[in-house]
């Protein structure tokens, strides 16, 4: 368990945000942590699940930061499915 900084981009938001996550976080939690800084603040919420993309690939919801091979300060893009 270690704090891990990533760059988060939520689909349709205007800015790249610095988000501290944990290297054992599954992608469902990573998506929530990134969405926290955007959804309901600048992007309207939607009643749909979210997904995380990394270097063009959609990551499995139960993949962790470590298992997905995400490096510190990589860009993670979150969107509604």
């Amino acid at each position: 368990m270690a704090l891990f900084p990533v760059q988060g981009i939520f689909e349709h938001d205007f800015v790249v945000v610095l988000v501290p996550i944990d290297d054992e976080d599954p992608m469902t939690l990573v998506a929530e942590k990134i969405a926290h800084h955007t959804v309901g603040r600048r992007v309207a919420p939607q009643p749909r699940p979210m997904q995380v993309r990394h270097q063009g690939n959609t990551l499995a919801p139960d993949a962790t930061v470590v298992s997905a091979g995400v490096a510190p300060m990589d860009v993670l893009q979150v969107s509604y499915t």
Partner: protein, 503 residues
């Protein structure tokens, strides 16, 4: 007293050039301080300023300017003009003072360097006046806000900003250090006087002075006009320097210096002037949109200059620069407003229904691309959730311009191919860039820029303690009383769209 006409003695007295015999040229003009780009010493002696002035004339003119502008200030400081100014305009001038006042002193260092290390006596003569000019501009732009302190404590940031690690101050210092504080004399002439002053600030100051008069800020209008008259003179050091580089086969050097500094200047200009013109200036006093101002004045003048001097438009002009005119400053405005506790002025949202109509007219598609963010923000304000309009983390930041990465806004507006920043892993460090031109500038001279740490770099390196928003605000020297708040206390969010008659 000499009775000769100036034209009979001017050239003789200003051109005190001679061939060195006891020391080498390198000893007198070390490359780090005055890069000749291989042009022989005597070739520089043809440097000829377009605007000529003698020291007695200079002193006579400057005394008159100071007497005039300080008199206006002395009278108006007893009035209630400042208190009655539009809140957005107050924000614009507080942002201006913080970003510009102390850098004027720093520009004096650049001018003094040209005054000593310029490669022709005529140039050193002009730069000496430039040194005095910039010192005057530093003094006047710290004195005027000093007089406002009883009315607006944030005017303290005219002096304070550049001594802090506030993120805008880091961006401005990075630009100005590159441009003049840590630049050699020849490059300074191209990058400060030819690119930044002739290209941007000269026209900007004319526009700001006119806007100030329209909004009733006679004090600031007089100040800016007075400064502009100096800028118009000393900025002309660039033209003869460019001519000598081109005439001696170094046109590519001049081109690269211009390309480099035009881009860097553009980004900070968009941050300061873009926000002021399109969001902070009261709607009824706006004449141009920022994009119109850029296209009709800045871009046109640069195109004329490029043509007149045989330079090319910068390589990024069509693909990167022109598209940014449509979206970049809108994204920065949204970012500055949302992260308003991190700036020393009160950002004016500038998105009342009437202002949104104006934005849509000037920037077709603004409502679809930027209005949607403001819709969510407006709803949060109306619903009594201001906490949702405030940040809980940082944006990531470009390692060249030191400005937050708003690439997703460019992507959403259809002007960028993808929302991600550019990433370069170099020497064990991850560098982030907002654009190809910022990456290009960095990669032209990595050793020059590698020591700069963005605010996010500093956060990740543990310089900011505690590593929280509160810790970061303290690191930026922003106390609770100094942090920016919405300029109109959210009045814009409660204004109603006027019904159109007959509908």
């Amino acid at each position: 007293m000499p009775r000769l006409a100036r034209s009979e003695w001017y050239d003789l007295t200003r051109d005190m050039n001679w061939t060195l015999s006891y020391v080498s040229d390198e000893d007198v003009w070390p490359q780090d301080l005055s890069n000749s780009y291989g042009i022989p010493t005597e070739k520089w002696w043809g440097w000829d300023e377009p605007y000529k002035i003698t020291y007695p004339e200079y002193v006579h003119n400057q005394v008159g300017k100071d007497a005039s502008v300080y008199s206006i200030n002395a009278v108006l400081s007893r009035s209630r003009i400042f208190e009655e100014l539009d809140p957005g305009w107050k924000s614009a001038i507080l942002a201006h003072y913080g970003a510009i006042a102390v850098p004027e002193y720093l520009a004096g260092i650049g001018e003094a360097r040209m005054g000593r290390f310029g490669r022709a006596a005529a140039w050193r003569n002009m730069a000496t006046y430039g040194t005095l000019d910039e010192t005057r501009h530093g003094q006047i732009q710290t004195y005027f806000p000093y007089g406002l302190l009883a009315k607006e404590p944030r005017a303290d940031w005219a002096h304070k900003t550049m001594h802090t690690n506030e993120w805008g101050a880091i961006a401005a210092r990075s630009l100005f250090d590159d441009m003049f504080t840590a630049n050699d004399a020849v490059s300074t002439a191209i990058q400060l006087t030819f690119t930044f002053e002739t290209g941007f600030t000269n026209l900007q100051f004319l526009g700001m002075a006119a806007d100030a008069m329209k909004v009733g800020d006679v004090d600031f209008g007089a100040l800016i006009s007075s400064i502009q008259t100096d800028e118009a003179r000393h900025s002309q050091q660039g033209e003869p320097t460019v001519k000598i580089l081109i005439a001696n086969g170094q046109g590519e050097v001049a081109q690269k210096l211009v390309d480099h500094m035009f881009w860097r200047s553009w980004h900070v200009f968009a941050l300061l002037t873009g926000l002021s013109m399109d969001y902070y200036t009261p709607l009824e006093h706006r004449t141009h949109s920022f994009k119109e101002f850029m296209e009709e004045l800045i871009v046109k003048q640069f195109m004329d200059q490029f043509r007149d001097f045989g330079l090319e438009v910068p390589w990024y002009w069509k693909e990167h620069f022109l598209p940014e005119l449509d979206w970049y400053h809108h994204a920065l405005h949204l970012g500055v407003w949302f992260w308003r506790p991190t700036v020393w002025w009160n950002p004016d949202a500038g998105v009342s229904p009437a202002e949104r109509e104006w934005l849509e007219e000037k920037y077709p598609g603004w409502n679809d691309s930027f209005g949607q963010y403001w819709d969510v923000i407006t709803a949060n304000v109306r619903d009594g959730h201001p906490e949702l309009t405030l940040p809980e983390t940082f944006p990531t930041i470009c390692n060249m311009c030191q400005i937050p990465l708003v690439n997703p806004a460019g992507f959403n507006a259809g002007r960028l191919a993808h929302p991600e920043p550019l990433i370069v892993d170099r020497d064990g460090r991850r560098l982030l860039f907002c654009s190809e031109p910022c990456k290009w500038v960095y990669e032209q001279n990595p050793a020059r820029f590698a020591g700069q740490l963005s605010l996010v770099d500093r956060f990740l390196a543990g310089h900011i303690q505690p590593p929280t928003m509160e810790g970061a605000l303290a690191y930026m020297s922003l106390s609770l009383a100094e942090m920016g708040q919405d300029a109109t206390n959210y009045a814009w969010a409660f204004e109603k769209q006027l019904a159109v008659p007959g509908t």
